[in-house]
């Protein structure tokens, strides 16, 4: 028997087969129990022949394995070629975060980046936390039962997140850098521009040597993070009983970039919220020494910003939970 010839025939037949079945047949023929090679091996009587035959067997088994892998790969490729990649994929139900949660997280993340803690505060509040501690005059219209939801004469649904300032200062000592976000309430009949509950964010910083310049820089950073570089911030005189001086702040109009358009009433500015230096009277109520500590607070409404940036015409849509709306975000 010429084993070299046997081997080269076997290799040739492995190479010629094109399917796994033919390859299995070839294997049986050349390497199977009844193949000449296996029979030969069984009948070997001397060491030299045994080694030689074994070497042939190993060579053929390797070649077989290699060819087997090659055919398998080929079969997979062929299978893949039948794939119609233009057919739609498996349909997975995709959920969405509500646009208000999306903006809430964005705001939280900016504050986290600024080294602020996010504090959860309550919505049902005492009149003291909502008005008295913030020096709201007894004659301020916001105290009116027409404007505020009262539970009883001493308890109400908070009208602003500024209550969070008081809750935090009651519990800790400066330095304080916090933001608090959540639901607030005013007794408004639902309309495209007003809903009886809405969302605010309030930020408070109390430290040594805080100035209105620090407030302006913080606002600038915040709004550039929110609306993009190139936004500018301006502060205007205003009045809040718990800040002195009080300002309102505007941001470069996001539609016209300050050029003036109907959206910003041709001012180039878009009104954002209220702010100021924390009034020393508030510090005194909290037991902080106003000669040592100073601070700023600012707040704004989230619903209006979310509506404006997504072009939502009616903020009641935020509460309707219509999937045709929610699924757009």
């Amino acid at each position: 028997m010429n084993w070299e010839e046997y081997a080269s025939n076997a290799l040739k037949s492995f190479a010629e087969v094109t399917t796994a079945g033919e390859l299995a047949e070839a294997h049986t023929a050349w390497l199977g129990r009844k193949s000449e090679l296996k029979v030969g091996l069984r009948n070997v009587r001397d060491r030299e022949t045994g080694m030689a035959l074994n070497a042939v067997r190993e060579r053929l088994e390797e070649a077989f394995a290699a060819r087997e892998a090659e055919l398998e790969r080929g079969a997979l490729v062929q299978l893949d070629q039948q794939l119609d990649v233009t057919l739609p994929g498996t349909r997975l139900r995709r959920g969405r975060l509500h646009p208000l949660t999306q903006i809430r997280r964005e705001v939280e993340d900016i504050f986290l980046g600024l080294g602020y803690e996010i504090v959860d505060t309550r919505e049902v509040e005492t009149v003291w936390h909502n008005f008295d501690a913030l020096s709201q005059p007894l004659t301020h219209p916001s105290r009116s039962h027409r404007d505020t939801f009262y539970i009883n004469d001493d308890t109400l649904l908070r009208t602003h997140t500024s209550t969070g300032q008081i809750r935090v200062m009651e519990e800790r000592q400066p330095p304080i850098y916090i933001a608090t976000l959540g639901r607030t309430y005013r007794r408004d009949t639902p309309s495209p521009k007003n809903t009886p509950s809405f969302h605010q964010v309030e930020a408070l910083a109390v430290d040594r040597g805080i100035t209105l310049a620090d407030l302006k820089g913080t606002l600038m950073h915040f709004f550039r993070a929110m609306f993009g570089e190139g936004r500018d911030v301006r502060m205007r005189t205003s009045f809040f009983p718990f800040t002195e001086p009080s300002v309102e702040f505007d941001v470069t109009c996001f539609l016209c970039a300050g050029e003036g358009c109907p959206f910003c009433k041709y001012t180039g500015w878009f009104e954002m919220g209220g702010a100021g230096a924390v009034d020393p009277a508030v510090f005194e109520k909290m037991g902080y020494d106003p000669e040592e500590w100073s601070g700023f607070a600012w707040g704004l409404g989230l619903d209006r910003i979310a509506a404006q940036r997504h072009g939502i015409p009616d903020i009641r849509m935020f509460w309707e939970n219509d999937l045709r709306v929610l699924r757009q975000f």
Partner: protein, 761 residues
């Protein structure tokens, strides 16, 4: 506050464009709502088309009984023929004429045209047509002697620019044209005229009987008596100013009280003196059961804290808010008692708030008006009453119990620098305060009376300087000694909950805090709800989610899955309810989908749930409780198909989330996996079987979960087969086949003992 610019110019010489003035006010003083042009538009020579005319001839229109045909001299050229519908004039009258091409304030452009066959070459004007009044009963007659052809704008305030300001609660001094002028003078360092009003000649010194019973509520009352007044319309200039400032002219004396309020900021009232019983004014609180019919015709029931103006017998006005009908100035009034008083903000606010009655007067009083102001207001009003109503001033009383000294405050200019973060030289700061009429004496600053309520402390003085320098403040960031930028565990887990549910296909919903009242649920109730639909604070998220699901079904949406994570408000018996975070969801796909959701959620939080059957759940279907909440199927007609819902207490869940996950060995000792199927009675639950198996096999039973339930066929009626996939694994050795068989036998015999369960081969 609407400020007619021509009126403002009477007190301060402004030359800058009004838009620039508005920008300056916005930065330093108050909001500007707009700049409005009222009256005849001053564009493209339009004003020149309004002229003085003299009627040369007026006869009935040949083809119309109700029209006059007039020949009118308007200066240049031949007389013009004008058709006119009014009959309150004839030949010789001096009138205002608009020529063809003129644009009226309402936008209408006149043209030459024929009226019933006769040419009409212009229009004779009534006062309402040029926004100088509200009268349209006849044309406006001008004083004789004016030269025909004179521009009408030289004779009448035809055109006006109005600045609309929104002032803040702490600046009642800005609710007056003179107050705005004072502010503008300070901003631009301009010269301000003295306040308007000088006392006229007093013709007699009759006593005026004024008594104040409550000086706290009414610190001051000036009463002035006038006789021989003639009530009639106000002159055009006065009516034009009131209209431009947003008030309706009524009659001369009433208009004067409004005019003085707008000019100086002190609301006034005029009584028909003849109707005041005993000729007396008493300022007192309302008597029990007392009532008053106010000027608006409404009968008001009074409370004992309401501050009243009374005469000898009864109340005649709600102090500071509205006069009474009985003592109102009427056409026949000849004797007038003018009130220039000062009232306490809260006294007025409390009553106007209860009566839901806000007026121009109450709006000023509730912010606090300068008690020194009534004097000047009385002067201006007296001057005008004498001039315009031909009255003589015959009596005066000024009752008060001493007026408060304006505050004197210590002021360190370096405090301003510390607040603003920029330096302003002390001289400049003192100069700004001087322009605002603060008196600076060394470290002490005295506050002008009209700012005495708002400026009482050093920081308030700082703000006065600061508002002049706001535009110069640079942007910096605080120098930090401590950082706090991290979410709490609770906040991180809330985000994870949201993200997991979004991953499971849920869209996030926001539903109202306020829900309808339900008799069986104890909830926190509002004192005055907007509607019965929003009467109490929710104690569960489920109702809101159900409503949202129904709305989506109605809208024809499919694949509905909604969740919300928010507060519920649980009554505690204390003042404040407990606000707990909950997460709730509702979805198509029935109980199995809802349960799969919360199983996935628990798994994502590394918390093991235990489910107990329950049929008393809020969503009304059958379901299960866990320690943190529930999951149930939803059965209601508005939600066709299979629905499931759940609600979990987030605070309770968070408590169970491990702070740290400790590695468990999954590699060293291999698991042994088997499938076991048991035949049990229909009422036995998978959960019960698993619980019993765990009990029997101990901790080496790593996992056991049902993957198939089968009824019918080879299983006898009333029974079912439940198949479990089971994993045995030990943390300290490799389990042998014998170990696995032993565990399995323990489970089989335990389930057989407890439930009669038969292992299926």
């Amino acid at each position: 506050m609407k400020v007619p610019i021509s009126w403002l110019r009477e007190y301060v010489p402004i030359e800058m464009p009004i838009a620039e003035l508005a920008d300056r006010l916005v930065m330093s003083t108050c909001e500007v709502d707009g700049i409005e042009a009222v009256g005849v538009a001053d564009v493209d020579g339009n004003l020149g088309l309004f002229r003085v005319g003299r009627v040369l001839d007026a006869v009935k229109h040949p083809n119309a009984d109700r029209l006059q045909l007039c020949q009118v001299d308007v200066g240049a050229g031949n007389p013009r023929q004008i058709v006119c519908g009014a009959w309150n004039f004839g030949a010789g009258a001096t009138v205002g004429v608009a020529l063809p091409g003129a644009v009226l304030p309402n936008g209408l452009q006149l043209e030459q045209r024929k009226v019933r066959g006769e040419l009409s070459d212009g229009m004779i004007l009534a006062e309402d047509e040029i926004e100088l009044g509200t009268d349209h009963s006849g044309i406006m007659l001008l004083p004789n002697g004016l030269e025909p052809g004179t521009p009408l704008a030289d004779v009448l305030p035809l055109t006006e620019t109005v600045l609309e300001l929104e002032t803040s609660h702490n600046r009642p001094d800005l609710l007056a044209v003179y107050g705005i002028a004072r502010e503008v003078a300070a901003l631009y360092d301009l010269e301000l005229t003295p306040p308007p009003g000088t006392d006229p000649q007093r013709d007699a010194d009759e006593p005026v009987d004024v008594t104040i019973e409550d000086f706290e509520a009414c610190p001051r009352y000036i009463g002035r008596l006038f006789r021989g007044a003639t009530i009639g319309p106000s002159p055009v200039w006065l009516r034009a100013r009131l209209l431009a400032a947003g008030m309706r002219p009524i009659s001369n004396v009433v208009d004067i009280t409004n005019y003085v309020m707008l000019a100086l900021g002190n609301p006034l009232h005029a009584f028909d003196y003849a109707k005041l019983a005993g000729g007396k004014i008493v300022v007192r609180r309302a008597k029990p059961g007392e009532k008053l019919r106010t000027l608006d015709g409404v009968e008001r029931e009074l409370e004992s804290y309401d501050l009243m103006i009374a005469d000898a017998d009864r109340s005649v006005a709600l102090a500071g808010i509205m006069g009474g009908e009985e003592t109102e100035i009427g056409d026949g009034t000849t004797e007038i008692l003018l009130e220039a008083a000062n009232f306490d903000p809260y006294a007025i606010f409390r009553t106007s708030e209860r009566l839901r009655l806000r007026t121009e007067g109450s709006n000023r009083w509730e912010k606090g008006v300068d008690p020194y102001l009534p004097e000047q207001a009385a002067k201006l009003a007296a001057q005008l009453i004498v001039e315009l109503a031909g009255a003589s001033w015959v009596g005066h009383a000024d009752v008060h119990a001493g007026l408060p000294e304006p505050p004197v405050v210590r002021f360190r200019p370096e405090r301003t620098d510390a607040v603003l973060g920029i330096e302003t030289p002390p001289d400049e700061q003192h100069a700004i305060l001087g322009r605002l009429e603060f008196g600076v004496r060394g470290e002490m600053v005295s506050v002008p009376t009209w700012r005495a309520r708002d400026v009482t402390r050093e920081i308030d003085v700082v703000e006065e300087v600061a508002r002049f320098r706001l535009g110069d403040v640079p942007a910096r960031l605080p120098t930090r000694q401590a950082m706090f930028g991290r979410l709490s565990k609770h906040q991180r887990i809330r985000r994870r909950i949201e993200d997991v549910l979004v991953g499971f296909g849920y869209a996030e919903a926001y539903t109202w805090t306020l829900v309808p009242e339900e008799s069986e649920i104890v909830a926190v109730r509002l004192q005055e709800p907007l509607s019965s639909e929003q009467a109490v604070l929710r104690t569960s998220l489920t109702e809101g989610l159900l409503a949202s699901a129904r709305r989506n079904v109605d809208a024809g949406n499919d694949d509905i899955a909604l969740f919300e994570q928010a507060h519920v408000y649980l009554p505690t018996g204390e003042q404040l309810p407990e606000e707990r975070w909950r997460v709730g969801g509702i979805a198509q796909g029935g109980f199995a989908f809802a349960k799969g959701t919360i199983e996935g959620l628990y798994a994502a939080l590394n918390v093991k749930p235990s489910f107990q059957s329950a049929d008393d759940l809020p969503a009304a279907g059958r379901g299960a409780r866990t320690d943190e909440g529930w999951v149930a199927s939803v059965r209601e007609p508005e939600l066709p198909g299979e629905w499931g819902a759940f609600e979990l207490d987030v605070d309770a869940l968070v408590d169970r989330v491990p702070d740290l996950i400790v590695y468990e060995d999954v590699i060293t000792y291999p698991p042994v996996r088997q499938d076991l199927a048991f035949v049990v009675s229909d009422e036995v639950t998978a959960g019960e079987l698993v619980a019993a198996a765990r009990e029997a096999a101990g901790h080496e039973l790593r996992e056991m979960s049902a993957f198939d339930v089968y009824r019918g066929g080879q299983v006898e009626p009333g029974k079912k087969s439940i198949a479990f996939s089971v994993t045995f694994q030990s943390s300290d050795r490799t389990l042998t086949d014998e170990d696995a068989a032993e565990l399995r036998n323990r489970i089989v015999s335990a389930l057989e003992r407890a439930f009669g369960a038969q292992l299926r081969a």
